[in-house]
């Protein structure tokens, strides 16, 4: 049964790509959030196929269970999209970018994989305090944005 993983991966990948495209085609934002949830769930299935079950569970709990539910509750306030969407522009750009990036992956993926990846990230992760600082800065910006917006929005935070 060597091809079961591959067949399952192809099915999940198709669902993920179709869901990512459907995010922009649906006029109801609630449906767009549902399709984004499907993308998150699909990535969790990919992690399971790779043998990373803990990360898959965390992805399901945090993104599918937490953030997507939060987004749905918030976005449910709006019924219809009010901005324009140009499908004629979508397909050419999606095709060009995807094919270009996949071609790039074919050329660079093999060289980056393997032990070199650990070496690259091993040297990069010497700077992990800076990564933590960026994360702290982001959360600071988040709290700042809520404080600033609280002056304008009549909400009960």
């Amino acid at each position: 049964m060597p091809y079961v993983d591959l067949i399952l991966f192809c099915a999940v990948a198709l669902v993920m790509v179709a869901s990512a495209a459907a995010i922009f085609f649906k006029r109801n934002m609630m449906h767009s959030v549902l399709y984004l949830t499907l993308v998150f769930a699909g990535s969790a299935v990919v992690f399971i196929l790779l043998g990373q079950t803990l990360i898959a569970m965390l992805q399901l709990f945090i993104f599918v269970g937490g953030f997507s539910s939060y987004l749905m509750v918030t976005v449910a306030m709006e019924k219809r999209g009010s901005a324009e969407f140009n499908p004629k522009l979508f397909f050419p750009i999606a095709t060009i970018i995807s094919i270009g990036l996949i071609f790039l992956a074919g050329n660079t993926g093999g060289t980056l994989a393997g032990t070199q990846m650990n070496a690259y990230l091993g040297s990069a992760m010497r700077y992990y305090p800076m990564i933590y600082m960026v994360v702290i800065l982001l959360f600071g910006a988040l709290i700042g944005s809520i404080v600033v917006l609280k002056k304008f929005v009549k909400l009960v935070f």
Partner: protein, 102 residues
Amino acid sequence: MLELYYLTGLAFALVGIAMAGMTSNRHFIAMMLGIESIFAASTVLLISFFDASKTANPQAFIMLIAIWAVAAAEIMVMIVLYVYMKSEGINFDVSKLTRMKW
């Protein structure tokens, strides 16, 4: 066993679709959801490369948490901006967001 090429192809296809959607769609929420799908693609790419390296590396988990933290902060900022725009009656078309200019 999945080849790295398939996984990077999936991640890049997701990024391409999200970028195309963001350039062709003017709705604020749809654009932010596109950014979220790019974050999902980045997690797939990260785990794919570490799976291809064949060695257990805890640094991958640190980077993954960093990506999740940025995605979470982006979701929260999106919700705050959404509630603000909704309550102030601002149009969600980003080409008309003149009220949010400094």
